[in-house]
């Protein structure tokens, strides 16, 4: 059997600027990010024989290949469930490389999520069709429960009730992310930290979530080059080895409204991912020097700390309040500022930051990084990675 752990690596990362109005098409953004990632790796478009993106991406693989000048493709794939796809694209690429289906696969995500279609805006059509997803939405959308913030808020309220968690506990996550972003020149919120008071004073989106519990909306693109570890060693950058890659969905899973399972205070699908990651990599929470935890909304950062074993159930609030997620804390989380601070590129920008942390080139570099954990979208079927230094 082909073994995934350690046999593949991320050899290149690339991105456009992160903005609120890119002024160009999503396809152009995709092409620019792919060029940047190939340049970073020291590869040319003709070296690429595979492309992977999100089901939600509007740029077909063949369209990106045409713009970039990629020739023959032997592998193309898409990953479902919104931001839950992020690390999944790397998993699909790594599987293709490890099995010899492709040699060099580029993963990309490109959108004008602020100036174009905004995911946070209600769309009356989402419940309209009797597909399995449309029917699932139909138990919620008619009641006006139709934005990601509101879907997450439903989990957050129960979590607060179960563990005595407060809005301030969520706010401390936002404050930490904005503090990290403040020293990252690539971050939209570079130089703009916030206080807990500002978090508390920000307007309600869907109680218990304030505006500052919600990540920003961004235009931009990120691309990653995945190839074999062996080949990566001969390229321009030191490789970020893929020690583990996993997808996960839980029993009784719905897209983003899994309210019918026994418990609403955890993220069972992330538990599935976490167990697979530890199993594949032979590592555990104590072996991780920094983590990129998906932060579209603050409450699930707390839940992930618990679900992945960095602290016990209901203990994340204390972990965060005690400075655990700061750059010098027990587990620095999202040194780039996350999606709350840097940009919302559907989790792809977090994977790029994980690679920089492995290389030792981040603007907010954590000391002595060996292994970085990365997670994808929360509340949805999701995915995760452990990247490691040589």
């Amino acid at each position: 059997m082909v073994s995934l752990p350690g046999s593949t690596a991320v050899a290149g990362i690339g991105a456009t600027e992160f903005s609120k109005q890119s002024g160009r098409s999503e396809l152009q953004l995709a092409a620019e990010a792919v060029f940047a990632a190939l340049d970073d790796a020291g590869l040319s478009p003709s070296d690429v024989d595979g492309l992977v993106t999100y089901t939600q991406d509007t740029n077909q693989e063949i369209a990106v290949a045409r713009e970039v000048g990629i020739g023959d493709l032997t592998f193309f794939s898409r990953v479902h469930y919104g931001g839950g796809a992020a690390c999944g694209t790397v998993l699909h690429a790594a599987m293709a490389v490890a099995t010899g289906v492709a040699e060099t696969v580029v993963c990309y995500r490109a959108f004008n999520e602020r100036s174009g279609r905004r995911f946070g805006q209600p769309d009356a059509r989402i419940g309209g069709e009797p597909s399995s997803q449309g029917l699932e939405m139909s138990w919620h959308v008619p009641y006006g429960l139709m934005t990601p913030a509101a879907w997450v808020a439903m989990f957050a309220r129960r979590y607060m009730h179960a563990y005595g968690v407060t809005s301030e506990d969520f706010g401390r996550v936002a404050v930490a992310m904005r503090r990290h972003a403040a020293t990252n020149p690539a971050a939209w919120f570079h130089g703009r930290p916030i206080t807990l008071e500002e978090h508390q004073a920000s307007r309600w989106i869907a109680e218990p979530l304030h505006l500052l519990d919600c990540c920003q909306e961004s235009d931009g693109a990120v691309a990653l080059v995945v190839t074999s570890a062996e080949r990566a060693r001969d390229l321009r950058r030191s490789p970020a080895l893929i020690s583990a890659a996993a997808q996960g969905a839980g029993a009784g899973q719905l897209m983003m409204t899994s309210y019918y399972r026994d418990d609403m205070t955890g993220l069972p699908e992330m538990g599935v991912v976490g167990r697979r990651l530890w199993e594949q990599s032979g590592l555990g929470p104590a072996d991780i020097q920094t983590a990129i935890l998906y932060d579209h909304f603050t409450p699930f950062v707390l839940t992930q700390l618990e679900e992945l074993g960095f602290c016990g159930r209901g203990e994340a609030r204390d972990f965060v309040a005690g400075g655990g997620i700061e750059i010098d804390g027990r587990l620095p989380v999202n040194p780039h500022g996350g999606q709350l601070g840097e940009a919302y590129i559907h989790g792809m920008n977090g994977i790029a930051e994980a690679v920089r942390q492995i290389r030792g080139t981040s603007v907010n570099q954590v000391a002595a990084v060996r292994n970085v954990l990365v997670t994808a979208g929360t509340g949805v079927p999701t995915s995760g990675l452990v990247l490691s230094a040589e």
């Binding site: 209600p122 129960r158 309600w204």
Partner: protein
């Protein structure tokens, strides 16, 4: 209408009222028929008045009246114009006032007072003539029905030249409030559920005012949201039970932003746990959002969202 135009209208109406009061009493057209036994009999039967003095000549002869008399409350009947207006009705001083009010938008009408005074009993064969006096206009007044004027007049009924009864009659002529609710209700609600053969039973139940939970016909497991195959025993034989209609708030959100089509913010959406053992999502209504909490006891209600869609919703149990 501007404030000035309203003031002008009021002045015109009051001036008209003054003139009509000054006209004094105006005699109307005499009754088509004299006071008669068949009409009395019909009226007494319809009103359930069995007093024999109105209908039984023998009993009446032995009474203080010495003969049949008409029930006094029938007074309006004798001179009431028929359903088919034949142009014989005389105009009264009230007509111009009512017409002026109609023309100014006070098209609604509701009777507010009717006070009758009977001077004596009427005997068979008496032929009455009504006479109308316009006596007052008051307003504009704000009322529950809308802004309006109270219009008052008096009618005196004469037999020959003898007044036998008087009536004070007052109506409110009002401008009907803009009925906003109706056109809005007809606007299609934009958040329609997708429905297929696996879920149709639920929405049909809601249409009948029943909250249905899918039940496996083989193993009996209850399930919501429903689906085509029982996850416990693979059976595709489905039936359903009618939920008790009570539940408990398991979690909830108060939606503020961004605006949601077809909804006004803030509104509450809750995950409601039913005693039957399943959860369902719905709005909590008729309750201020700040009073909603986890553990709150609720019961189901149904709201018509547009011509087609009814949604189950939840209200506090104590209400």
């Amino acid at each position: 209408m501007t404030a000035t135009a309203e003031a002008d209208l009021h002045d015109r109406l009051m001036a008209l009222a003054e003139r009509q009061i000054a006209v004094g009493e105006v005699r109307g057209v005499a009754a088509a028929d004299p006071v008669n036994l068949p009409m009395i009999r019909h009226w007494a039967a319809a009103m359930g008045d069995a007093n024999p003095v109105y209908t039984d000549a023998e009993a009446a002869a032995g009474s203080a009246h010495g003969e049949i008399v008409a029930p006094p409350a029938m007074i309006q009947v004798w001179t009431m114009p028929g359903v088919v207006r034949d142009g014989r009705q005389a105009t009264t001083p009230v007509d111009d006032v009512l017409r002026a009010l109609d023309g100014s938008g006070y098209t609604g009408v509701v009777a507010t007072n009717c006070e009758q005074t009977y001077h004596r009993y009427l005997r068979l064969g008496e032929r009455l003539v009504p006479a109308t006096r316009f006596t007052g206009l008051a307003g504009p007044k704000r009322t529950a029905l809308g802004e309006g004027y109270f219009v008052t007049w008096n009618i005196t009924w004469y037999s020959q030249d003898e007044p036998v009864a008087d009536m004070l009659f007052r109506v409110l002529k009002f401008r009907p409030r803009e009925r906003k609710t109706k056109p809005e209700a007809r606007e299609p609600y934009p958040l329609k559920p997708a429905i297929n053969r696996d879920t149709a039973f639920f929405w049909e139940g809601v249409g009948r005012g029943e909250l249905l939970i899918q039940r496996c016909a083989d193993c009996g497991e209850l399930r919501h949201p429903p689906g085509p195959v029982c996850p416990s025993c693979r059976s595709v034989e489905r039936t359903h039970v009618v939920a008790s209609g009570v539940g408990e708030v398991y979690s909830y959100v108060v939606h503020h932003n961004p605006p949601v089509p077809g909804r006004s913010t803030p509104f509450v959406v809750a995950v409601v746990e039913l005693p039957e053992g399943v959860r369902i999502v719905g709005n909590v209504v008729d309750c201020p959002p700040e009073e909603v909490g986890i553990g709150m006891q609720v019961r189901v209600t149904y709201r018509q969202m547009d011509d087609e869609l009814i949604l189950p919703m939840w209200v506090p149990q104590e209400s």
